[in-house]
Symmetry: D2
Subunit: 265 residues, 4 copies
């Protein structure tokens, strides 16, 4: 780096302890409430950044996730300070194609802490802050018992004093990993210039590099999904025309970084 | 009730939907980081409300817990709105005796939401608000793997801009349910009068009525525990002279309410 | 007090530093967004606890307030730790009569911290936790300038992931203190028993004892008010049939405590 | 912009409503607790990014600020949704020189919401999230009265469960605008690459373009300042060797953007 200070990102500092995010690889373990749905194809097409193209299947995913994340640099972060390592997230992923390759892009995504917000922007996940609530179905609660058909789970997203999304799942039967849409992300990295609001300093189409992807405890679910309007959001334009289904599962993965497919600016 | 409004507690309302807490029974499932320690016996004795007496073993427990709770009235609360059903808690329990019977009292306890704070006051748990952080060791995180000897867990308590407590555990070996101190609570219910600050409207010694107590996944741990001073707290007077050990475990239980042992006012 | 521990309320402690609230008198300074409105008279009557009776004028107030509060015991609390002394609040007050005397009762009220929540319950304000947002119109902001006719102010209340209320004010002209409804509160103190959910330990009708009431900077406003439905609230039953007007003002006051008018249990 | 989506920053969207920040100009009004101090000159020099050089006076500023901010694009934001327009901030500014020109750089800064965090990164303010508490001395509180000599004010900064900074001021006498250090900022814009952690995509030295700077209500204060250590911060390396003084004042300003002085990567 061309400065005397240390760090993967701001705030650079003399000892390199202050930056809000460690460099990749980043390692994740999480529990996911997933709704698979079809938005209005015209609205889905509108959120795809050129040169991404719509996918004929027209699917979208809504995820509520509770994550524990660490890095190679600080693999014990979940112990050293859990607050720096754990967060909840809500994202909508829209199916797309890039030069014939299938994948998803993420137009809207919310989290509840700073390290994950900035780590998102670095990758092209356009994270904003919110309150994210998810059912933690504790099997020892005498009224809840173990996960089994009939158990219901909910995810709620609220930001700037407004409920934005609500996903409702009911476990039907154990599912198979093969049923899960594979998250393969084509993302838009964007960072403004400070001296020209119309010409960004960074504008890149990137593909996430994900390894060690493992799933466990997959449940197939009935699902309902609701988006709410807000002056500060456009999420509800992607409201479901059809809900295909839902899943509850755990996953682990490593994000090594990303590959820049195209410089768009 | 002698009023036209409905509800177990405030705010009473025409339909009975507004009260912040449902009546008991209340059902809980949670994951616990526990440190067993010995505070200064003189300080432990000072926090016991008459007529509770010190216990010769002089033990105390520090618990960090992540709970999912529901009631008979709203057994599906964890689904209907997770935010109304889930919370984190940190408490210190001090060994004591009541008329020869062994148990614990809880002088200090913090939670992160209103329904559990009020439900605590109703039972004699003197809950205040705080931020509570606990390691969620996700087994699918490629850097974390399954719970096993050597895994480290942390609990951090912060309130009014100050860290108050930090518990650090390292899993040593699977433990036995029999090793766990049985939480049997003698609590002080107290509610002020509005017209006489020196004479409370409620002052009762109560014993919690707990049923359906089940433990699972008990781990014996090495433990460290630190309390920090604050102008607004007296927790650090109970700082450990000796740490006996730690445990990580899950539990479920039902609280039916309490038995009033003595009216003290 | 009949115990060895010290404090006005829980948690009682050896030195008396731990209790979440100091005894009265309590001293307040705050800025208020007020909407004066008429709910459905049948719904207004339903929220009045016996023996309070409806007032023929049928008015109600919606207040958003940002408070700084201290006590005689800790008059420097706003300096020692601002977090223990400052909070935002949203309340609805409904006009009523008690034995011919005019006043207001407060069926629903939300705050954003523990000390004020418990202090409310002690007085008969049935406070719950929420996020409260209010316009702080800073006169030095080059786009805002000083308070003057045309300036707009907003209050937003959100709890458990749902927006509950929104008040919108537009300053019309300087107002007079005489235009302001005098808040004279008849409140219901209620605290459950732990051994009998149907018979509360405390059930009292009280009148607040307020002194040193001063108003300043009164503005008369156009106002709009919206309540939103929620499964966990009944606020929207009091939605305005007619909005009479609004005010923005600052006030200061001392609450000495309350007078118990009747024991209702 | 080279994409079909609209917006000054992420998340770009079809209608341009979703981005977390509007483009400049941005307009601010705020109340500031300021401590002027001298850190260890060696530590101050260490935080200056090349090519910034130390200033012989060796001063630093600690600011606690409560801001109301809007943009040209949404000048009514403080009314439309106060939560999107208001925040608290804590920053440390270190005196420096750039090619002989005097100014300050900001190595560390914390805020409590997303729009201001991202707006900071865009300008070169390396913002992280925190809880910021500041005394709001309300003149109508019967125990507080108007601002006058002897009034005490406090700022407290807490992040990831640890108190990081505490500023204590006591008003001495009315001050003069001329006494205030002029904040002229030389900032480091930095944004990582996604495909090479060692070579940032953006590394620029910028100078903020600030207009409409106005001060009001300046008070000269006695001051104390304390920084606390943290594994995740290096703020306490800048702890005061000498506290020169403090001020309390209000200010307004417009930030038009910034001028890129040098590309450093």
């Amino acid at each position: 780096m061309s400065t005397n200070l240390k760090g993967y990102c701001l705030p650079l500092s003399p000892e390199g302890r202050a930056p809000v995010v460690d460099p990749p690889p980043w390692h994740y373990g999480g529990d996911v409430l997933q709704v698979v749905f079809k938005p209005d194809p015209k609205e889905a097409a509108r959120v795809l950044p050129k040169p991404l193209e719509p996918h004929p299947d027209g699917l979208a995913l809504l995820w509520f996730v509770e994550w524990t994340s660490v890095s190679d640099l600080n693999p014990d972060l979940a112990y050293v300070n859990p607050e720096r390592s754990q967060y909840k997230e809500c994202l909508v992923a829209v199916q797309c194609r890039y030069k014939g390759e299938e994948g998803f892009t993420v137009p809207y995504i919310w989290v509840d802490n700073d390290f994950t917000l900035i780590r998102g922007w670095i990758q092209g996940f356009p994270k904003k802050l919110a309150r994210v609530y998810m059912t933690r179905h504790h099997p020892l609660n005498p009224k809840l018992g173990p996960l089994r058909p009939g158990v219901k789970l909910k995810g709620v997203l609220e930001a700037h004093g407004e409920r934005l999304a609500e996903a409702s799942l009911e476990l039907v039967e154990e599912g198979r990993v093969e049923d899960l849409p594979r998250p393969r992300f084509f993302l838009l990295r964007h960072f403004p210039s400070i001296d020209n609001p119309t010409r960004p300093a960074v504008l890149e189409l990137v593909r996430s590099v994900v390894e060690n992807l493992r799933f466990r405890g997959v449940w197939k679910c009935r699902a309902e999904l609701r988006f709410y309007p807000s002056r500060f959001e456009e999420l509800d334009a992607l409201r479901p025309i059809e809900v295909v289904g839902g899943h509850f599962f755990s996953l682990g993965m490593t994000i090594k970084g990303g590959v820049v497919l195209e410089h768009l600016a």
